[in-house]
Symmetry: C2
Subunit: 399 residues, 2 copies
């Protein structure tokens, strides 16, 4: 086993999660056990901080402060949407060499894995010795190879608790309620709303994800049918739902389509999709009380809604990452595999296996274009963890 | 003391809260102690259920089920926005007389108090013996005479925890973040976002409520100033903010202005105000990353975010209501008064004192048009209760 005496650098990329700092903290704690680690640095705002040599010294942060940060949502080091090319990477290596950085941990989603892959390739090309480990996180749960990803479970818990509440709210003041959930290409998070459903008459009654074509006429027909049956209807919709041509419904609407650095259309941080869907239901069904909420950033950053399993696994992927990085001259992505009900283990796979592409919900997780299956419920339940107990009055109607 | 042998009827009105069922449950539990109460009925969907004789028998609901319901957000009996006139009331009395209802408890906001007042006046006119007790609830916290109202504390806790999270999210991926909070005329809930602020640089940096004129130019100027100082800006805005003429900013926008039965413009369940504010900031400042969330119904119905103080007081107002109703031929509204730091007591006041009008934030709760005062923080802190501990990394920048 070759020991590499060098500094370690940690960065966080992409959208924050409720537990991403658990991974950051466990990497720091674990790295401190190895004498060959000279210093532990954190890069401010992901790869952009490397290019700019904007580093924080994490070596001597107190355990008390680390534990506080671990329980704080959002990326404590700051994040970025930058995706480096060869020129960008070259600038990063200049900084890395200057600071003798030999270990690079990036906590991120598939864009993060792509960054790791690019950095790793470029490092090899220029003969720069760097151990690059990608640590998974994303509320979208769309990383290849992984059974699921840290961050998803807590977001799923938030979405479930939100729909538990709005289901009762909608029963109290009946009408149509539409909740727009994050998810550009994968519907896992939107589908997690199913955990709110306790009985047949409970919402969500309809669930629309990007995996299925969103047909406006079917949507209106289905809402009407549920409304006629229960006097109300609760709908969960992914922000990324697409039409027959695969074009996001939201894109058709945005007067000014805003793109982020990865070429993605902005879907979050606007209520436009929800308002369109509500207007459509109102005008085509005549139902007067139609309400919509776009859950937005609360899904990934709300304080006080964390799945314990998720927090534990987010911490564990950090430990695993360090273990792999210190075991020899390796690069790779830490992945979570499900081995039982409920059991998992961790592996290190090639960066290219996780980078560039994303995962969608498999066909077995659906029973129709607007409803998920029992298989999905069994899949998601242990990830979201225990939910608060709520219920209806058990009463007899007076004759 | 005159004992009235009759049935008791409970109804819930207006927007649900996270703890409104605590009051319902305590009224039921307390009523069961009095032998003169023949039966305990619940009206489905508030006063509309009385007119339609749509009653539930709550007399023998198990304690276990009651406790489950107490911990469930939203009105378990169903709610309504109906505001009865004389004809409507006459129809209600027909039903009430038929069922020998002598006690009427309505858990509601100021519209609920108005309903109680009207029903009470009409009952007196037609010589119908009815003890009418209004039990306070509203997340808006806008009831006259009351120091605060059950439901507000939990909603304030939700708003605080939401802003705690988005503050860190916004620090991680800097830009302008606007959170639109419920509140038609009163800014208490929006102002509660201040509980998220731990240090000077933390958001919310700006807080806009309906008590102050919302000047778009000042808003844009202030956002720009904060953004230049901190590289980011977090804003809390009430849905009911108004312009110089007192017209809601949202009203000017809504192509189709939808009114509810109380003549109020629909402000919730749409993202229109937030999107307008975001577009305004983008176009007038040139800041590219501007995001907005409209918190919507989650504020009042999210499962798993309850202030313990709020839950306790919501239960207590129910007990008090029964105590008053059974003490003699009285009508009135139970109110909460603050007597210490933190101590309260309960009183019964005339229905007309709480009905019809609403309360706004007093001038001492502001230090400017866009920021609340220390006095407000001291006021709201005990109501929202304990918040999760979160924090930043304490690190040294590498030179």
């Amino acid at each position: 086993m070759s020991k590499l005496r060098a500094k370690a650098l940690i960065a966080q990329g992409g959208g924050p999660t409720a537990v991403i700092n658990q991974s950051l903290v466990s990497i720091i704690i674990e790295l401190k056990k190895y004498p060959e680690i000279e210093k532990i640095y954190g890069s401010r705002h992901g790869v952009s901080g490397i290019k700019k040599e904007d580093f924080l010294d994490l070596t001597d942060v107190s355990l008390e402060n680390l534990e506080l940060v671990a329980n704080t949502p959002s990326s404590a080091l700051g994040s970025t949407r930058d995706k480096p090319d060869s020129t960008y990477c070259a600038q990063m290596f200049v900084a890395m060499q200057k600071y003798n950085i030999g270990y690079f941990f990036l906590i991120g989603g598939n864009d993060g894995a792509s960054v790791c892959d690019i950095v790793n390739q470029e490092a090899k090309k220029v003969g720069y010795e760097l151990r690059v480990i990608h640590v998974p996180k994303t509320i979208d749960n769309d990383l290849l190879v992984n059974d699921h990803t840290p961050g998803f479970g807590s977001a799923a818990k938030f979405v479930a608790q939100a729909f538990m509440g709005v289901n009762f709210d909608n029963a109290s003041l009946p009408g149509v309620y539409i909740g727009v959930v994050m998810g550009r290409h994968a519907g896992f998070l939107t589908a997690s709303s199913i955990l709110a459903k306790q009985t047949e008459s409970d919402g969500p009654h309809l669930i629309y994800t990007p995996e299925k074509v969103f047909n406006v006429h079917h949507f209106v027909r289905d809402v009407k049918e549920i409304y006629e049956k229960y006097g109300r209807c609760v709908v969960a919709v992914s922000e990324g739902i697409v039409n027959e041509e695969g074009v996001p419904i939201a894109t058709k609407l945005a007067k000014q389509v805003e793109h982020d650095a990865h070429g993605n259309v902005q879907l979050s941080g606007t209520g436009i999709l929800g308002d369109l869907l509500a207007d459509t239901v109102k005008s085509l069904t005549g139902i007067s009380r139609v309400r919509v909420d776009t859950f937005g950033y609360l899904q990934r950053s709300f304080v006080g809604c964390v799945s314990e399993v998720d927090a534990k696994e987010a911490r564990e992927v950090g430990y695993q990452a360090v273990k792999y990085a210190l075991s020899g001259d390796v690069d790779g992505s830490v992945v979570i595999k499900r081995t039982g009900d409920y059991e998992i283990n961790y592996e290190l796979v090639d960066l290219s296996q996780v980078a560039h592409k994303t995962k969608s919900m498999p066909e077995e997780f659906f029973i129709s274009d607007s409803m998920v299956s029992e298989a999905f419920i069994n899949y998601v339940k242990p990830l979201a963890g225990e939910l608060p107990r709520v219920g209806k009055l058990e009463v007899i109607k007076v004759k």
